[in-house]
Amino acid sequence: MKANAMSNFEIVTREDFSDVTYLLEVRHPLMAKAAKPGQFVIVMLNEHGERIPLTIADFDRKKGTITLVIQAVGKTTRQMQAECKVGTKLYGMVGPMGIPTHIAKAKKVVCVGGGLGVAPVFPQARGYKEAGAYVIGVLGFRNKDLVFWEDKFRAVCDELILCTNDGSVGMKGFVTDGIKVALAGHNDIDEVVAIGPPVMMKACADATRAAKIKTMVSVNPIMVDGTGMCGGCRVKVGDQVKFACVDGPDFDGHLVDFDDLMVRLSRYTKVEKEAHERWSESCRMTKQVGAAALDALARGHVQQAELLELPDPLDDAPGG
């Protein structure tokens, strides 16, 4: 292993699954070697960017790449959607972080993914398959158009249950309905793995509580460093406080305090919204000015230099 084979975080593949979901494959040979199911990375888009956590949705040790599947929900994830093209580079990507999923000697597991959790549950499903388990996949999407990676999951699942809110493909219902179907069909399920928005994971944990089936969830609190240094990612698990980035992100779903997690996720909502509005505004202005300028140029009214003087929408940003 060469020590200085560090990556420059180049994006080698991009795929758009829908208006809001996209895939990025980033070159990082060392990380591709080290990555295990259940781990995540922290990405910085540019020098001014936020550090955002994203699950390693797949890794290719031969190609030396890490795959991320991202939902555009706010400023950073939307900006990435706009700017991350093949050949461009991320400012930074550090990982793999977190304790890898313990692929137990389970004989039969249900892997549940909903929303932004579909991609992250894939390496776990594959991990279990490789460990010789019987894998039942349960995937939830809003409708048919949002479905992705069905074939990838089929390749590692012995059974796949697709759920859509409107029934446009698979069964109509939520992933919890899918879990019920799986539980009805098998009475010897050892473990359930559920990844998705907190509400969904909470519902999944509730769905298996009565049958006392071990249910692991991957929590997604707000993070800063991802190295156990800030405590921002703390979650209540049973009567203990855990730092998701170094003690998790996988925890026993029957013990996680989801209500607490959801409240804490709303901590920065107001400022996040502000940041996003500012950013969209600035994109719009750049476009308008750009168009107007081209127009003017075509008519030969403006000197080239003036074109560079786009107004900086962040000029009057209140510092702090």
Binding site: M1, K2, A3, N4, M6, L30, M31, A34, Q39, M44, H48, G49, E50, R51, K75, T76, Y91, G92, M93, V94, G95, P96, M97, I99, V224, D225, G226, T227, G228, M229, C230, G231, G232, R234, K236, V241, F243, V246, D247, D260, V263, R264, S266, R267, Y268, K270, V271, E272, E274, A275, R278, L314, A317, G319, G320
Partner: protein, 499 residues
């Protein structure tokens, strides 16, 4: 030499350091203390008695030749002063700013027995800053050897170890988890106390020595310590990952929104530059009132950062009294000047929320000092029935840190019972070729101690690799002159054992 100085003949007053006005600076992130100029430094150097027994040197964790460098300042030979300082202290402009001098060199200074102690730290800073301005670096004659050394963590411990190993001729790579190097110096200590330019200048000096920095690298998870030795071709590894893992109070309401660790506050503000939000993306809404719990350096930094981020009222709550406060005296003083309201002998018992999970206030209890405890400080005991509530929008815990668990999770290194990495007197760990030092071994300590540990580990590492520790035999009594045509300042050349 001129007539012998006595306590009566030296300037009686300690030369004051110019500071930004307290009202103005509480609104900006510019450096608070402006530092000495040459005249001021010269005047202060007059105050040193050049004591033969040098109590200050024994008070210094790395035994800097203090009267020696002060003498050079006095002779206006700043380059000479810099050379003496950097013989033992690689980061003079940093230590001059952040060392708790009142408990170290200045605490035992002879002058301090009757007057105010000689301002050793301020003169050290002056020399260090002059070196940065002039672009001085002591790049010794380095004879490359075949050894490769890996350093984990780029805080003061890692930086010091990297410098010494590079000077010994090794090929040194520093791995850092964050996207910028510097450790606590970068993410913790704010700019108004230690400007980033100073840290970057020191890091650049390391680069000039040939040290390579690899940021965005989480050692343990990207590759393990064992892999560094077994697969990546490192002959020795130093671990200086700091303590980091912040302690929460464990009182009711701890998980409310608006309760955060000082590390989170400071990292968001300093490293992620939330203070320039939305120009930078990381947010840090601060509210009107901020309560900081604790009274160490971290707590002082948290109070003063909160003021600068626009808080109208900042409280500092500490369960012991002012005398026991672990922060540097100057920091408490500065915080007070800037308008931080101190509540000594007060301990929080609960966080009050607004019913929607947001902080609304804090319930505290008054304390009084009882019998001395293990640390020799008087133990605070709650006064029955003295609970009271006050309103606050943000609560910041600055009550210490624990060992970061990643190294323990990913390697076979033996840990002690508190989870810190176990190391012997020579800072060797339980794995051959792996050394550790700084906060991850001792628990949260100081910059100079971390730096000292990095250098100590470097000495052990050289012994382990069979690199002859160069030095003393080649230096003449005055520390000048050449030997075999090699400048004495360049005495760090290495001889590799013929294996």
């Amino acid at each position: 030499m001129a007539k012998k100085k006595t306590i009566r003949t030296i300037p009686q007053e300690r030369t004051p350091m110019r500071e930004q006005n307290a009202q103005a600076r509480a609104k900006n992130f510019e450096e608070v203390a402006c530092g000495y100029n040459l005249e001021e430094a010269l005047r202060e150097s007059e105050r040193c008695l050049m004591c033969p027994d040098q109590p200050c040197v024994s008070g210094c964790p790395v035994s800097i030749n203090i009267p020696g460098f002060i003498q050079k300042i006095n002779e206006k030979n700043l380059r000479g002063a810099y050379d003496i300082l950097t013989d033992t202290n690689l980061l003079p402009s940093i230590c001059g700013r952040v060392c708790p001098q009142e408990n170290q060199c200045e605490g035992v200074c002879t002058v301090g027995e009757s007057l105010e102690a000689v301002a050793i730290g301020r003169m050290e800073r002056f020399v260090g800053d002059t070196a940065i301005k002039e672009g001085w670096v002591n790049i010794p004659y380095i004879e490359p050897n075949r050894f490769r050394v890996g350093i984990v963590g780029s805080g003061p411990a890692g930086m010091a170890c990297a410098a010494d190993m590079a000077k010994a001729g090794c090929d040194v790579t520093v791995y850092e988890a964050f996207h910028q190097a510097g450790g606590v110096l970068k993410y913790g200590i704010p700019d108004f106390r230690l400007p980033n330019e100073v840290i970057d200048a020191e890091i650049n000096n390391l680069k000039k020595l040939g040290v390579k920095f690899e940021c965005n690298t989480l050692v343990g998870r990207l590759f393990t310590i064992e892999q560094m030795i077994d697969e990546m071709g490192f002959h020795a590894v130093f671990i200086g990952v700091g303590a980091g893992y912040p302690t929460m109070l464990n009182i009711p309401g701890d998980s409310s929104n608006g309760v955060l660790s000082a590390n989170e506050l400071l990292t968001r503000c300093n490293l992620m530059r939330a203070r320039d939000f939305p120009n930078f993306d990381t947010p840090l809404p601060i509210g009107k009132r901020v309560a900081v719990v604790g009274a160490g350096n971290t707590a002082m930094d948290a109070t003063r950062v909160s003021l600068r981020l626009g808080a109208e009222k900042v409280y500092c709550v500490y369960r012991r009294s002012r005398t026991e406060a672990p922060a540097r005296a100057e920091e408490v003083h500065h915080a007070e000047q800037e308008g931080v309201e101190f509540h000594w002998l007060t301990a929080p018992v609960a966080v009050l929320d607004d019913g929607k999970g947001n902080v609304r206030g804090m319930r505290c209890v008054r304390m009084e000092l009882g019998e001395p405890d293990d640390s020799g400080r008087r133990r605070p005991v709650p006064v029955a029935g003295s609970e009271f509530d006050f309103e606050t929008d943000l609560i910041v815990y600055a009550i210490g840190t624990n060992a970061n668990p990643i190294m323990g999770q990913t390697s076979k290194l033996k840990l002690n019972k508190w989870g810190y990495i176990g190391a012997d007197d020579n800072l060797a760990t339980s794995v051959a070729g792996v050394f550790a030092g700084g906060d991850i071994v001792t628990g949260a300590a100081t910059v100079i101690q971390a730096m000292g540990a990095g250098r100590k580990a470097a000495r052990s590492m050289k012994a382990y690799l069979g690199i002859r520790d160069p030095g003393l035999p080649y230096i003449s009594a005055e520390g000048a002159g050449t030997l075999f045509g090699i400048d004495a300042r360049e005495r760090n050349f290495a001889r590799v054992r013929i294996a």
